[in-house]
């Protein structure tokens, strides 16, 4: 039990693993981050067996405060926070050497900053918990303002940047690095409109010599492609056994009841024609990202578009799950380059990404400038196709303030209030001092 744990470095290494394991929940295919994709113009839900109103409500911006999925996300984020905060509390009193302590704190604050950044985008200002709190204490913690929430996020990430090693010096592949913390911090600065600070931290990543683009976009994907030089922060999965943390994306993103390519499909994030048509002609990224359908058991082709990036067709299966091996990149270097263009206004970084894809550079003759007349629009387009289905689209549109404009132009019934989820009704029932977001009362 907990009383004889949290003593030695070995104990902490085991505890830290459990903190990283929270990534499995936060970035799971049926979680809030993924449902951000679903709420955008990139994806929809396949015909889900036992269709639940709660899922459709998220896609259709009709969520109510009693939506059970929203409450589930809330619980899962704070559950993860407990694990992180508990390690932070424990290492403070463990008396281990200061360098080790600082690095562990850096890793935990990286995760906390990352999660609170996700949460502030999902809900706006939230109750900030930075240590293990008792039930009585919890009743006294109210929502912080959005600005104060960001302050906490920046503080956490700054600490992480200062105390984490470069990618080539992390204690194990997959652990948080300085570059990862800087990338998230850069994004946070962009969300805050602070392009100067964003430029500083992102340029630090750019100049760190730790990362680069792979030569081909297609080679980024596959069950055995892991932790390449393009990867900045990557969730580590291990397929092959039901008792391993196997990768859930392939099963979840496959069409429902296909019964051929997977035993059971989740039908989550089925690709819209709108995304498919976003690609410029000849852009190889389209076919590397999107499957057009599958062959059924008789060999007949069933047309339905779904994500291709996490395919693992040879994975063994257990029950209804494929025990896939694919990792999931939360941050990758192409993202850094596109953020740099966003921060600096200089298209050269974006053009490196386009160059790898073999499509004409922005500002050159072949570029479809009729469609994407400004750099901002070009970036919006570029992020959409480069980072397609990697859970970025909704958050990108939100960061750039384009959410309602873009989505309502596509006939979606979205309004300003929909940019945030409601605070779960249960949270307010329990502590009526917690305030609700606009439009959900």
């Amino acid at each position: 039990n907990a009383n004889n744990f949290y003593k030695t470095k070995a104990d902490f290494e085991v505890a830290i693993n459990s903190a990283y394991a929270t990534l499995y929940t936060i970035y799971a295919p049926e979680e809030a981050a993924s449902y951000g994709e679903l709420r955008s113009d990139d994806a929809t839900i396949g015909s889900v067996a036992g269709a639940q109103a709660d899922k459709w409500a998220i896609r259709d911006y009709t969520v109510s405060a009693s939506n059970t999925l929203i409450y589930q996300y809330w619980q899962e984020y704070y559950k993860s926070m407990f694990t992180i905060n508990n390690i932070l509390d424990q290492i403070q009193t463990a008396g281990l050497d200061p360098a080790y302590t600082a690095r562990v704190q850096g890793e935990m604050m990286f995760l906390r900053g990352l999660y609170y950044y996700n949460m502030v985008q999902l809900w706006g200002g939230i109750p900030l918990v930075t240590k293990v709190v008792s039930a009585d204490e919890a009743y006294k913690i109210m929502r912080s303002s959005e600005a104060d929430t960001y302050k906490q996020i920046v503080a956490d990430l700054k600490f992480a940047v200062a105390n984490l090693p470069l990618a080539n010096a992390v204690p194990a592949v997959g652990r948080a690095s300085k570059g990862a913390a800087e990338t998230v911090l850069g994004k946070v600065y962009l969300s805050l409109g602070d392009k100067t600070s964003a430029t500083t931290v992102l340029m630090d990543v750019y100049n760190s010599n730790q990362y680069g683009l792979l030569t081909s976009y297609a080679s980024l994907w596959g069950a055995t492609v892991k932790n390449t030089k393009e990867s900045v922060f990557e969730i580590q999965y291990l397929g092959g056994s039901a008792s391993n943390p196997y990768s859930p994306y392939w099963t979840a993103f496959a069409p429902v009841t296909n019964g051929v390519i997977t035993k059971y499909g989740g039908g989550i994030n089925q690709v819209t024609d709108d995304l498919y048509n976003e690609y410029e002609s000849g852009d190889p990224r389209r076919d590397a990202s999107i499957e057009l359908g599958y062959n059924d058991a008789k060999g007949n082709f069933v047309a339905i578009k779904f994500p291709k990036k996490w395919e693992d067709r040879t994975a063994p299966s257990s029950g209804t799950q494929e025990l896939s091996n694919n990792n999931f990149m939360v941050l990758r270097y192409a993202d850094v380059l596109l953020l740099l263009t966003e921060a600096t206004g200089d298209p050269q970084y974006m053009n490196q990404v386009r160059g790898r894809a073999g499509v004409p550079a922005y500002g050159t003759a072949g570029y479809p400038s009729a469609k994407y007349g400004t750099l901002a629009l070009a970036l919006e387009h570029e992020r959409r196709v480069e980072l397609a289905l990697e859970f970025h689209r909704w958050f990108d549109l939100k960061r750039t303030g384009r959410l309602v404009t873009v989505l309502s132009a596509k006939g979606k019934a979205i309004n300003q209030n929909n940019q945030f989820f409601p605070i779960p009704q249960y949270v307010i029932t329990q502590n009526s001092a917690i305030t609700q977001n606009n439009g959900y009362n």
Partner: protein, 1121 residues
């Protein structure tokens, strides 16, 4: 026997001895009786007389000194018409003058009305203390005087008096059983001892073997349902071997377990599976209901205690009993589902309605070519639905008429020194669900041996092996539920012989593109999965009793229960295309082990001092249990030939272990005065590993009193009330069914991957609670027992009020702590109730008719909950149960539907959800705020019945006996969770037949209950509402049994001593409006303590597709040798 011998020894010399006795006596105006009594004391000679012969008026005055006895007698009797005579045996008899008194030898045999000899019957000369008892064969002999009256009496039988004639003779007597008398003197098993029913001051329901001997249930408690007021025994699932849910006097816990404590031959076991005790081995089941009776079991007594006592042979002749039974089981009550034609129309309408609603300009007549895939309809459904006919009735596929056989053999008997019982039984039960079965072998040896006057040892050893396969009881995703959901237009077999349309070689494969065609073929789960469950249970008790001095006895015992279980399953690759996905082969092995041991040491002191009787008990016990479980899963099997895990590759596995231990001290004093005033007080102190470090030990006291009013002198002169007893008790008992490690902050595995390999991770998985302890139930019980008209009518009425506090609750805490709940002792629940039972012997004589009736009602109310009394709301697949202060536990909580909107005008006129169209449900604006939202949810039912009742009529004539039992439950509700699948369009599943009466148009509005189907049902249509809740009121013809005991005139030509044949029918007929199989069905067991998430007990009365309770008819024969 002893007295008889004594009398004969005295015979020869006694007469002359008595003649010579000399007496000195001085009396004045003394009555005859008193004078004779004084004479007896002075002379040491017994004087026999009939009181009615003594004239009341005669007063004796005399003063004699050293006078010979015959002369003294003459003096005493001088003013009467009486004379005295000194007999050969030295006794003095006083008879009317002119009567010749002589000694006669009387012998005979006493039998009961079934012809069995009765040992131990008291045979007494009326008006005297002289007599004898019958021996093991019911024989007696006695020397008496002519004209004496012999009274034959035996506990539980009506006395008989016979006047002896004038010569040596044989008097054979048949004694008739009495109901009331039997009850009063019956021995009742209480905690750590026994009591006569007369002395019981608590509330104990006792059932003897005879009450369940012909019943065909594998679990004895199933046979007790309806026989015990205040004890609700619910057959939640009908699979053979599935455990009934037992609740004694209401629901006292929300989160902790609600199972009673089982005590089998002295071994207290939590959550014991009584299937491991062969009902034929059971002598009695005693249920302790009130807290004063259960407090002796301390922290485990709050849910009531079920004491099971197994048989032991009786002194006397050896009994060999053989029983054979053959039975057949059927599911007589089916769920009315749509047939293929109804389903196809439903499918087409659901797609068209949704298509039309999905965008402007879309028409129901649009062909598939313009529709997106979810809205497409198979051509077969529109062009030629007739080809499917009525389709497949999946219930006929999964259920069958299933035979059962049961064979029992037992040998019992004993001598004064040693008594024994050996038995063996084999039950072979095929289940009504395809491929399911249940086989049980049980062996038992009970032996008790008296080593010397001081030492007695004994052992009970029972082994039970159960081999079974049970599917269909897990609800939602198990065979029974899935079978109902399967679409009726699909065939049992495709033309290729496979089970489903996913077979690419079959013409049915054409339905594959329609993702909402649903098939879970029952055979794909029963025949394509090979399953075996093997359980072995050994229950052993060994004890030593030491009589230290008269009345003081020490007893020490060691008990153990050892349980092992292995479950193997192998699912064929693809499951013949009958499952909703073509799954790969998978093998699973699960193992479980449990060892529970108990050391029990008691000291008892039993003594009568004149009119005071005292019984003292002191005890110390220690108990420990360890549970282990492991499982392994294999995948990637090359083919389906070898089903063991080594044929594939092991893909996952785990093992767990947990332990608890408990140490207890107990004490009890029972006291009575004149067997008329009874007092009892007990206390137990329990220390348990489950409790927090700050609350390791608990005290559980109790006290009770009883007054047998009918024994008072002022009651002697009336004939109407033959028995009247008042009882009152108060006690405190606990419920320790909380998680083994609740107080501890536990670490759980949460692994990550590091450097491409699995890296162990551990994190804290619960908030610890140092003060965690048991739930406390304090109960007051008031009872009255009344026997009328010589106990022809017996009534018992009881009232109780019980308050459970320190309720173990997973109190909701703000989720920002990282947890949703904290296991805390907080909250209060009250149960108060009334129990009534009546037993009446309507007809006695050759044709007998007895009626037993009982009624129980319980009112349950939550008095207090966690901080701020925040209500507890649990949700399980849409169904919500809410527990709030002032209400009974677990109210169903949802919207109220008031039918279906007929047209737009009606919608416009009422509060409604935006976008509501005609044909959608009318949702009641409960709070009247003019809009429909979450605030309009309200209480829409509760599973707790208002009252339950049962009546049993028993008739017997000659050798025939007939019993008919009708049981009913009134005023409760049941949530039909299958509504989620079968009441609302859900991904293409089949639906109830009455759903076909759905709204089609304004001019064809259906039955006004069923809304228009759509493949995109609205959120409100899918929400939990009154649409899901049904009345759980039911009446059941629970049991009929007809037996015939062959007359001795026939039997004596056979080697047997007695032969009885019988027919027993269980669950004969059910009157209920419930849509699914049975309103007693509950999917979630009420037993498991829960650390997080939904406590299963909260969902009592929620049916998510349960196994139907079959009708079972058995034919049996019992032969005694």
């Amino acid at each position: 026997v002893f007295i008889l011998t004594f009398l004969f020894c005295l015979r020869v010399s006694a007469s002359s001895y008595s003649q010579n006795i000399r007496v000195t006596m001085d009396v004045k105006n003394m009555g005859l009786k008193k004078t004779l009594s004084m004479l007896e004391k002075k002379s040491n000679v017994r004087v026999l007389y009939s009181e009615e012969n003594l004239p009341d008026a005669v007063q004796v005055t005399m003063d004699v000194k050293d006078m010979a006895l015959p002369d003294v007698l003459k003096e005493i009797l001088k003013n009467t018409e009486l004379k005295s005579q000194i007999l050969d045996n030295g006794l003095v008899v006083i008879v009317p003058k002119g009567t010749e008194v002589k000694d006669l030898r009387v012998r005979g045999r006493v039998i009961d009305d079934k012809g069995s000899p009765l040992p131990g019957v008291s045979v007494r000369v009326e008006g005297t203390q002289f007599g004898t008892t019958t021996d093991a064969n019911g024989n007696y002999q006695l020397t008496v005087q002519n004209g004496a009256k012999l009274t034959f009496s035996f506990l539980g039988y009506a006395n008989q008096t016979i006047t002896v004639g004038n010569q040596d003779q044989t008097i054979n007597v048949t004694l008739k059983e009495t109901q009331g008398g039997k009850q009063l003197n019956e021995i009742v098993v209480v905690g750590y001892g026994t009591q006569s029913k007369r002395a019981v001051t608590g509330s104990i329901a006792s059932v003897k073997y005879d009450n369940f001997k012909d019943r065909s249930n594998s679990n004895v408690t199933q046979s007790l349902a309806g026989q015990l007021p205040g004890v609700s025994i619910t057959q939640a699932q009908g699979a053979p071997g599935s455990l009934p849910i037992i609740k004694i006097r209401g629901t006292s816990s929300i989160t902790a377990g609600t199972n009673p404590l089982y005590v089998v031959d002295g071994l207290p076991l939590e959550n014991f599976n009584l299937n491991y005790i062969n009902p034929q081995d059971i002598e009695s089941v005693d249920v302790l209901k009130d807290a004063s009776s259960t407090a002796i079991y301390g922290s485990r007594g709050a849910n009531g205690v079920v004491i099971v006592t197994t048989k032991l042979g009786k002194v006397g002749q050896t009994n060999v009993n053989a029983t054979v039974e053959y039975g057949v089981q059927d599911v007589t009550r089916r769920v009315k589902m749509m047939d293929a034609q109804q389903y196809i129309q439903y499918y087409v309408d659901a797609h068209n309605n949704a298509w039309v609603a999905s965008g402007p300009g879309r028409l129901a007549t649009d062909p598939n070519s313009v529709r997106t895939s979810a809205y497409k309809i198979p051509d077969d459904f529109t062009t030629n639905p007739g080809q499917f006919g009525a389709g497949t009735d999946w219930q006929s596929v999964m259920f069958r008429s299933a035979p059962l056989q049961n064979a029992q053999l037992s040998v019992s008997g004993g001598t004064e020194k040693t008594q024994f019982m050996f038995s063996g039984g084999f039950l072979n039960q095929t289940a009504v669900l395809d491929a399911n079965y249940y086989k049980r072998l049980s062996l038992r040896s009970n032996i008790k041996h008296k080593i010397s006057d001081h030492f007695t040892i004994g052992s009970n050893l029972a082994f039970t092996g159960i081999f079974d396969r049970t599917d269909g009881t897990a609800g939602k995703s198990d065979v029974v539920s899935l079978g109902l959901q399967s679409d009726p237009f699909l065939p049992v077999y495709t033309e290729t012989g496979s089970l489903g349309f996913r077979d690419p070689a079959s013409v049915w494969y054409r339905f594959l593109p329609y993702s909402d065609i649903i098939e879970w073929h029952p055979y794909s789960l029963t025949r394509q999965i090979d399953e075996k469950n093997k359980s072995f249970n050994t229950l052993a008790t060994g004890y030593l009793e030491y009589k230290i001095i008269d009345g003081l006895k020490a007893r020490t015992s060691i008990n153990a229960n050892l349980y092992n279980n292995t479950f193997n399953s192998y699912a064929n690759a693809g499951q013949a295309y009958g499952y909703s996905a073509v799954l790969p082969a998978q093998g699973v092995v699960r193992n479980a082990y449990s060892l529970n041991w108990l050391s029990e040491n008691t000291l008892t002191y039993d003594k009568t001092f004149g009119k005071h009787t005292l019984n003292v008990l002191l005890g110390y016990t220690a108990q420990h249990q360890r549970d282990e479980a492991s499982n392994l899963t294999s995948n990637n099997f090359p083919n389906d030939l070898v089903h063991t895990l080594n044929a594939g590759t092991v893909s996952s596995g785990s093992s767990t272990a947990s332990e608890w231990s408990m140490v207890s001290f107990l004490g009890r004093v029972n006291y009575n005065y004149m067997n008329r005033y009874f007092l009892s007080a007990a206390v137990r102190r329990d220390g348990s590993s489950r409790f927090g470090p700050n609350s390791k030990w608990g005290y559980f006291p109790s006290a009770s009193a009883g007054w047998l009013i009918s024994d008072e002198d002022f009651m002697k002169d009336q004939q109407f009330v033959s028995n009247l007893k008042l009882r009152a008790s108060y006690g405190l008992a606990g419920n320790n069914q909380i998680p083994n490690y609740g107080p501890v902050s536990l670490l759980g595995a949460s692994n990550y991957v590091s450097g491409g390999t699995l890296a162990s991770g551990l994190n804290v998985v619960n908030l610890p609670n140092d003060g965690l302890r048991w739930e406390k139930t304090a109960q007051f019980n008031l009872g009255v027992d009344i026997g009328l008209l010589q106990n022809r009518i017996n009534l018992t009425a009881e009232f109780y009020n019980s308050v459970t506090k320190d309720l173990l609750l997973n109190v909701p805490v703000p989720d920002i702590t990282g947890f949703s709940t904290l296991l805390t002792n907080i909250g209060k629940v009250r149960n108060r109730g009334f129990e009534f039972s009546l037993s009446s012997r309507n007809l006695v004589g050759d044709f007998k008719w007895t009626t037993d009736f009982n009624l129980s009602l319980n009112r349950n109310k939550v008095l207090q909950l966690g901080p701020g009394n925040a209500p507890l709301l649990f949700t399980d697949f849409v169904v919500q149960v809410k527990t709030e202060v002032g209400q009974p536990v677990s109210n169903f909580y949802g919207y109220v539907f008031d039918g279906v909107y007929k047209n737009q005008a009606q919608i416009d006129a009422t509060p409604h959800v935006a976008g509501t169209t005609p044909g959608e449900p009318i949702v009641r604006d409960v709070n009247g705020d003019g809009k429909i939202d979450a605030k309009d949810q309200t209480t829409i039912g509760n599973a707790q019945a208002k009252f339950g009742s049962a009546i049993t009529n028993t008739f017997s004539f000659k050798g025939f006996d007939l019993g008919i039992m009708v049981q009913g439950s009134f005023g409760g509700q049941i949530t039909n969770q299958l509504t989620r699948y079968l009441g609302i369009w859900n991904g293409g599943r089949n639906a109830y037949a009455d759903v076909a009466n759905y709204w089609r148009s304004e001019s064809n509005p259906g039955d006004g209950i069923h809304f228009k189907p759509s493949i995109n049902p609205t959120a409100m249509e899918q929400a939990f509402s009154t649409y899901w809740v049904e009345s759980a009121t039911w009446v059941r013809l629970k049991n009929i049994r007809l037996g015939y005991t062959l007359p001795q005139t026939w039997v004596k030509h056979t080697p047997a001593k007695g032969i009885r044949v019988y027919v027993n029918a269980e669950n004969v007929h059910l009157w209920s409006k419930y849509k699914n199989f049975d309103p007693e069905n509950t999917t979630y067991p009420a037993t498991t303590p829960s650390t997080s998430g939904n406590p299963s007990g909260a969902f009592y009365g929620v049916d998510y597709g349960s196994y139907p309770v079959p009708r079972i008819i058995t034919f049996g024969a019992k032969v005694d040798f």
